[in-house]
Symmetry: C2
Subunit: 420 residues, 2 copies
């Protein structure tokens, strides 16, 4: 298969003509396909309906239907402590999704500071490091609080640590958002070396905080899965016990929006957060916590449940990857990573062609994640990154959507090459 | 029955001797009774178990088990719009309890200001008006954000409006917390005139906000119930559409901590809050919203359900009120209001005797709400207010607890009178 950049103008025009024919045929189908967000499909949601059968809301003799237990119920704290490899004392159960845990923590840092430090909102400038491409909702939180975002390039084993070690010499740099396993959108898992270098950071800001968004902690797709080093096992070696706030949730295990979330942190951070929770909430939903604890039983039960998700997701990921390989492989216009878990495939097309690809897709009835959303302020400096979310559409729809995407990528790149 | 203040020293000593005998008998029983918080009793919690039977989580063809719908589901918005007498467009469904809605709104005012105004956190001084006695968790929120609290005395028909109209001339006074129906702890419902005067306020601060915590909006105990004027019907007459943020929840209709909450406000405030929610949450728990909407059906269904609660609560309130009347009536040492709804009985004892009453109760195995908690900073200036929460204990336990409370009040007052 020929690389586009090496083809003659005539060959490119012929290629374009052929693809425009295909594209028009897709357009004529009047499709409405959605690959925009990491939503589980219906089949996945059906996996957890038994969770709703809970009828006994008593634990250790306490009626969970009533007020109280701000930390979360013991069985749930135990479950998530085991999942994240920390003590139950270092777990707080959260609301229906971990996004709120992260938002609320950043809000707390801005209004009250970290462990008695100056509230970030009172500082002239606060900056955060953002590995890119990344998760748009992290960026939205930071933008809302007026925190300046600094792009840090992702590499094959995690964010560029040389760059980070340099950037944290600036005292205004107060933290970093990370999705350390099956990163959103690339599906990259940080290597042990990267995790160690993160744990060993010596930031100028004493109140530097890493939001360790372990959203895909057991969200494997293949049997051969990635292993993430437990950062809480490493932090004490560098006296950095307080530097990391980890969150996770069951949004993509049970029901998005009706799941439960958990936060893991050091004793000092837990006390600081609990102090806020005593003002902010009467408790989170303990009945839902109990449903989840009973449904999963233990971490092994959680993992067994996640295998059922994997069985549904795997053919969808393979479907998209096959089309990418068949249609874009060897043409020198696109690259991508085959993830072993998570919810996305990150596609990098020829610089300057991502937005146009998004347009072409939309005009053929396929909605992608807004191009640019994987970068702070919605600005992809290379206009090259596209996040593909294969989970929601049924396989037959995904088949079409992936074809349309590939044709759109090729057309967008051809337009650029021919415009030269 | 003789007034203590008119009795001779000998008569007082005899009374004390008699009461100490009774008190010792109670102590010997080794009781553990809790009248500290407005927790529903088990029988009340059992009323809502059918809510959990929901199996169909589809509304208007949308799968509520998946991401989306930040405002809350339409059926729930309609239900709470009808309950609060506003348009569904002016409703946002909230998390599992309304306390978080209030905390998050105050946090938003502090970090981002009101409708584009200066963030309160950037002002040298922010003050709030607090009708007293009031709800300790309102005070906790304000204290956490460093907002100075100013006591405003409650009168029989609501807070002292003359005082409020004077205090709002101070531009630093940015708002007020109100529980307008069956107030916590007194059970007072604001009169139409008070609601109108509140709606007509012309505060110096353009970003003055009233948190209208309608926690007990349909929480009647008797058939003859209080009617609260809908403040949103009155605000437009004074051009004050944006001045009020109303909240309510099902914490005391279904399950505390596993219910749903709602916020009602003007278009401008709703937009301001939704702007934050788009950063803070993926949505609140729509499955729980759906359970509630199906369980209640409509406002009439809600009210019918609340009558079942009333049937359980009424004998408990009457039990306590009978003891108060029998043991404290005519002695000139205590006063209280008989509420027609809500969750509390507010008891005012002779100045300087509330804390001692609490101690005596505790030493006889009865836990009351921490004395002082009904005032900002936990400081009851007269050391006279006691909040009684009769809902949790079974009637037979409540019978004993109320007796112990009355004996403790009498002993505390006798101690004071005899110390003169």
């Amino acid at each position: 298969m020929a690389e586009y950049q090496k083809m003659t103008r005539e060959a490119l025009l012929a290629e374009q003509q052929m693809l425009l024919e295909r594209y028009k045929n897709y357009q004529a189908m009047g499709l409405k396909l959605d690959m925009s967000r990491g939503k589980p499909g219906k089949e996945q949601l059906d996996l957890s309906m038994a969770l709703l059968q809970d009828t006994d809301y008593i634990e250790d003799g306490i009626d969970l239907r009533n007020y109280g237990i701000i930390d979360g119920i013991p069985s749930c704290k135990k479950l998530f402590a085991d999942l994240l490899g920390v003590s139950p004392d270092n777990i707080l159960m959260g609301p229906n999704a971990s996004l709120s845990l992260m938002y609320d923590y950043i809000a707390q840092c801005c209004s009250h500071g970290v462990l008695g430090g100056t509230p970030w909102g009172k500082l002239p400038k606060v900056k955060f490091l953002c590995p890119v491409p990344g998760y748009d909702r992290h960026f939205t939180i930071l933008e809302y609080f007026g925190i300046e975002m600094i792009n840090v390039a992702m590499q094959s084993d995690g964010p560029d640590m040389d760059a980070i070690e340099e950037l944290i010499k600036d005292e205004a740099v107060k933290g970093m958002f990370c999705v350390p396993k099956y990163s959103n959108p690339q599906g990259i898992t940080y290597s042990d070396e990267v995790v160690r270098r993160i744990a060993a950071l010596k930031p100028a800001a004493k109140d530097f905080r890493i939001i360790w968004d372990n959203a895909y902690c057991i969200h494997e797709i293949y049997e051969e899965s990635d292993e993430l080093l437990n950062i809480f096992d490493v932090l004490p070696q560098y006296g950095n016990d307080d530097m990391v706030i980890e969150v996770c949730s069951t949004s993509k295990m049970t029901f998005p929006g009706a799941g439960i979330s958990a936060l893991a942190a050091s004793d000092a951070n837990i006390a600081d957060i609990r102090n806020r929770l005593n003002c902010q909430t009467i408790s989170y939903d303990k009945m839902n916590q109990h449903r989840h604890a009973k449904f999963f039983g233990d971490v092994e039960g959680m993992k067994a449940h996640m295998q059922k998700h994997a069985a549904i997701l795997k053919p969808k990921f393979e479907m998209v990857l096959d089309h990418l390989e068949n249609e874009l492989g060897g043409k020198g216009i696109a690259s991508w990573i085959k993830p072993r878990g998570g919810y996305f495939i990150s596609l990098d097309v020829m610089n300057g062609c991502a937005k146009r690809t998004g347009e072409l897709c939309r005009e053929a009835g396929v909605v992608l994640t807004t191009v640019g959303a994987t970068y702070p302020y919605g600005k992809d400096p290379n206009n090259s990154n596209i996040r593909i979310a294969p989970s929601l559409p049924p396989v037959e729809e995904l088949d079409l959507a992936a074809q349309i995407l590939c044709v759109s990528v090729r057309l967008a790149c051809l337009e650029k090459l021919l415009a030269k």
